[in-house]
């Protein structure tokens, strides 16, 4: 758990908030904070979402590729730069399938739901409440799960 100490100074917290602000602004700007726009994609009426995910993945992809090839370390934590490589197992597909049903039914995913609150969409509290309930239910149901590989422990 290197670099996961409780207090990493004010600059760390400021950077997290700034990153969140930019991330949330992007969700607002791309209209992903509106469930209707996501549903329009899933119903083949507007394929713009592909450019949202694609545009974001290109930026992160280039950033991860360049940084993880360098020997540098993150200035605020001393952590090495890695890519997001989680272990593959059946749960990846089962979880993806369950998420897909929920996403297709509601047009909502976690990040977009938080952003939706920011654009004043108070009914989204139903979705956020539902997400917490779902996360809690799976936590009750699953036994002590074996931890993922440490290298990926801090990814989403």
């Amino acid at each position: 758990m290197s670099g996961e100490s409780k207090s990493r100074g004010p600059l760390f917290n400021v950077l997290i908030v700034v990153g969140g602000l930019i991330f949330g602004f992007g969700l607002g700007f791309s209209h992903m904070a509106r469930p209707e726009v996501v549903l329009n994609f899933l119903q083949f009426e507007d394929f713009g979402l592909l450019f949202v995910m694609g545009g974001a993945a290109v930026v992160t992809g280039v950033t991860f590729a360049v940084a993880s090839r360098s020997s540098g370390r993150a200035p605020l934590t001393g952590k090495a730069y890695t890519r997001r490589l989680k272990s593959f197992d059946r749960n990846v597909l089962i979880g993806g399938g369950i998420f897909g049903v929920g996403w297709g039914l509601s047009g909502i995913c976690p990040g977009a739901a938080y952003a939706s609150l920011g654009i004043g969409n108070y009914p989204i509290l139903f979705a956020i409440g539902g997400m917490f309930a779902g996360a809690y239910a799976q936590g009750l149901w699953r036994k002590h799960s074996v931890s993922d590989r440490p290298v990926s422990s801090e990814a989403d």
Partner: protein, 163 residues
């Protein structure tokens, strides 16, 4: 998808692609800023479990990685809410609310909560960060949730439920 005839293009993208591509780049930039400063790859769905660790003794939520990251994940989420609010005030000037029925939000949200945690990520963790990492695991997850979600959304539409 790559070789779309010009006449069909506007049908596929009735609102153009600018807002989507630019917004997507901002999403990626937010991740990149945190990553370059801290080495942390921030996804949006772990917040659900890590925040539950404040109030629940269920062992699953008390994993060290959740307890250790829960504080910054709250800040990250507050940032997301704030960033979207800045966008809305700057570009629209008034708040917006959805017409999607409450029961779809609640039921869909519940399944999203279950599925993202079992599947180790969501649209941002797998879809943006994992795909950006060329991760087989993440690409498998994304292909699965995309296919299922398209099927479900089309079914909902076919049953006459709108939006």
């Amino acid at each position: 998808m790559d070789l779309v005839p010009a006449f069909a293009f506007t049908n596929l993208f009735p609102n153009g692609i600018g807002r989507y591509a630019i917004g997507g780049m901002f999403i990626g930039l937010g991740v990149a800023v945190i990553y370059l400063g801290t080495g942390i790859i921030a996804g949006a769905s772990t917040f659900l479990e890590s925040t539950l660790s404040y109030v629940s003794d269920v062992p699953r939520f008390q994993k060290p990685k959740y307890v250790a990251s829960r504080d910054w994940r709250v800040l990250f989420t507050l940032g997301i809410v704030g960033g979207a609010a800045i966008y809305q005030l700057a570009f629209n000037g008034q708040f917006w609310t959805t017409d999607v029925q409450w029961w779809r939000l609640l039921g869909g949200g519940f399944l999203v909560g279950v599925g993202t945690r079992i599947g180790k990520g969501c649209t941002s963790g797998h879809g943006v960060c994992g795909v950006g990492s060329a991760s087989f695991t993440s690409i498998s997850n994304v292909v699965t949730f995309m296919a299922v979600a398209i099927g479900v959304a089309q079914l909902v539409q076919a049953l006459g439920v709108s939006p």
